[in-house]
């Protein structure tokens, strides 16, 4: 696993804010829009390029936001269920009766079981968003994680297409995704080989919750190293 050096959080924040304020909004195409930076770069993928350089999805997610103004909080955070989508603004009902409006721009990194675009966001999804508060009350999102869960569980059953997991007092069905689900054994690099998962193992499962049936699409299942391999 790697983290990423973040060369320009200030630049990224400046870009994000400018993009939100000047309408560089592109939803659903993965396009890096025009506006704050002049001519944009059109594309269809998640990874694009801007005047600031490459916009790599993982690097962008990892880049923490720091304020330009020391009096401004370093970053803002929102969580809850999406109740509506108005163009580039997600209306979010927080878990404590609070409400947020999260603005998604061409500079926003979106994760929903993979790095993707805002087109994949749906009403009813759960959300964590990191961003910058704007004067209009919206949160200009730097990164949005949709339906992401990271659960400590115990493997109770293994089938060809799914795992049965115990999470606290609850049972969760984990959907294995062909060519997508990976396993990490003892912190080693993720592998497509799931054959070493066994019933009874403690596992950390990172995935995307499905609001429709409560199951979880498994992105990565991490288990401890085998006893003999412990350092």
């Amino acid at each position: 696993m790697s983290a990423y050096r973040t060369g320009g959080p200030l630049d990224r924040r400046r870009f994000l804010t400018a993009a939100a304020l000047r309408g560089a909004t592109v939803i659903g195409t993965g396009v890096v829009g025009t506006g704050a930076l002049g001519a944009g770069v059109l594309g269809t993928g998640v990874v694009g390029a801007t005047a600031l350089g490459a916009v790599d999805a993982d690097a962008a997610f990892a880049a923490p936001i720091r304020p330009l103004d020391p009096a401004v909080a370093e970053s803002a955070f929102a969580e809850g269920r999406i109740t509506g989508i108005d163009h580039d603004v997600l209306r979010v009902a927080g878990s404590y009766g609070d409400h947020f409006r999260v603005r998604v721009t061409g500079a926003t990194s979106v994760w929903k079981a993979r790095a993707t675009t805002a087109a994949d966001i749906e009403t009813g999804d759960g959300l964590y968003a990191r961003g910058v508060p704007l004067p209009d009350g919206t949160l200009a999102a730097d990164a949005v994680w949709v339906n992401i869960v990271n659960l400590h569980a115990t493997i109770r059953g293994i089938e060809k297409a799914r795992l049965h997991l115990a999470h606290g007092q609850h049972e969760i069905v984990g959907n294995l995704m062909p060519e997508r689900t990976s396993a990490s054994y003892g912190g080693a690099s993720p592998t497509a080989d799931l054959s070493r998962l066994t019933i009874g193992q403690s596992a950390q499962v990172l995935g995307a919750w499905r609001p429709s049936d409560g199951s979880v699409d498994l992105v990565r299942v991490a288990v401890a190293p085998a006893a003999g391999s412990r350092r």
């Binding site: 050096r5 923490p64 994680w145 400590h152 912190g187 609001p211 409560g214």
Partner: protein
């Protein structure tokens, strides 16, 4: 104790949800301290109490982590980006013993064993939730 610069520990940071929440986290509750919320800058510590220690058992992984109870404040720094966040201990965790020797690296820095569990708000302040773990240093 405050969000200071005295080194306390280092290792892996993971993240978890707590408080009122959506999806599988809906039943998470307020944690061992009763105050935990995913949207707050909070953390779970493996030695928040004797009862907590008996569950997490970091010593089984060679980590003799000191006790810091509910309300303790720590600074957690991402060892590669240098980004940091101040958190308040609000729960017990992670279950260190279940992942002994697990290691997370970035660039030339590796940290071994899960020693702190951050809320989504705290974890996302210094890294990406989709990474799952981060190598961190902890100060108080």
């Amino acid at each position: 104790m405050a969000c200071g610069s005295t080194k306390l520990w280092n290792g892996e940071a993971t993240w978890f949800c707590c408080g009122n929440a959506w999806g599988p986290c809906a039943a998470a509750g307020g944690g061992a301290c009763g105050t935990c919320r995913s949207s707050a800058l909070q953390a779970a510590w493996p030695n928040a109490s004797k009862a907590c220690w008996d569950i997490t058992r970091p010593d089984l992984c060679g980590e003799d982590i000191p006790r810091r109870g509910c309300g303790s404040v720590m600074k957690v720094r991402h060892d590669c980006s240098g980004a940091s966040v101040c958190v308040t201990v609000s729960d017990c965790g992670p279950r260190t013993r279940s992942f002994c020797s697990e290691s997370t690296c970035c660039d030339d820095v590796c940290r071994t064993n899960r020693v702190i569990d951050l809320t989504p708000a705290a974890f996302s302040a210094i890294g990406s939730l989709s990474s799952g773990t981060l190598p961190v240093s902890i100060f108080e």
